[in-house]
Symmetry: C2
Subunit: 149 residues, 2 copies
DNA sequence: TCTGCTTGTCAACTCAGTTGACGAATCATT
DNA sequence: AATGATTCGTCAACTGAGTTGACAAGCAGA
């Protein structure tokens, strides 16, 4: 019996090609409306945590502060996000989606949901829930491993 | 009720951070013995399909031929892979792992398996099988979407 | 006040993967 | 056999995600 470990190994191995395909599909579908992957992550983050600071976003998105800062510059310039002064700290900011930013992230989500719903029909809610659970657990697991070493 | 579509969306969203964590974990663990991600994919491919040609590998790994060619140069130079003339086509080659190459990919797999087995204990074989199934189906799904558009 | 952590900013860099171009070889036609 | 399209190998430039280093300014605790 091989097996479950082999299944897991195989599935993990598939992560990189999967991401490549997701990215390609997303770009082809013109889903991203002039929005890069990083920008999209920030928009999603700010829609979940309105008024977050840059360090907040770093923590949520698990990205380096310098990278987050750079993207924040971009989305501010594109007027998808606006910065307000952070009352708790001088020279620091809180970030909010502009109405335009909200529109963009909403549209992106809607298009993607539509595509995914075509897929989800082929699986039971239990299967999808399991997939979700394992995926998040794996993410956590590898995050911990990376730190410990 | 949270719908299974939300679970799926969330899980798919997690793919990119997951891959970042996997990559970081793999690198930290010194798993890769001087082997890049691309090289590792080629080694794995050749261990599964010994004697494959460059175009074969492109198809299996879903990567562009120029990229595959570049990596093949690298692993040949590192003497992890050797090229033999392709009987079916002049100026073309079939590729085989050298004993050294086999050692490397075997060691990599073993180390990774060991790490993953720590994770897999927390899940039932059924859960892992489901994860595997959905992961592969998603990969296929997005590959198709990318082509169709 | 000194010390150490946090934040914003500028810059250089790595790494995966793609794209373009070109010549030689192969294959399919006629 | 001649021709035209496709395949393969190779060189090269490029994009995009994400990291790393460095520095100056603010903050918090001793």
């Amino acid at each position: 019996m091989t097996h479950s470990l082999d299944h897991l190994y195989d599935a993990v191995q598939a992560t990189r090609p999967l991401l490549r395909n997701i990215t390609a599909a997303v770009e082809r579908g013109s889903i991203r409306k002039g929005v890069t992957v990083g920008q999209r992550a920030i928009l999603e983050g700010l829609s979940l945590f309105p008024g977050a600071s840059a360090p907040d976003l770093c923590a949520k998105l698990q990205l380096k502060r310098q990278y987050v800062a750079r993207i924040l510059q971009e989305v501010r310039q594109a007027e998808l996000v606006e910065a307000r002064a952070n009352p708790k700290r001088a020279r620091s900011y809180c970030y909010w989606l502009t109405p335009g930013g909200k529109d963009v992230i909403t549209a992106i989500r809607a298009e993607e949901m539509a595509k995914l719903s075509r897929f989800s029909d082929d699986f039971s809610p239990e299967e999808l829930a399991t997939y979700h659970r394992v995926q998040l657990a794996l993410t956590q697991f590898f995050a911990d491993i990376a730190k410990e070493a």
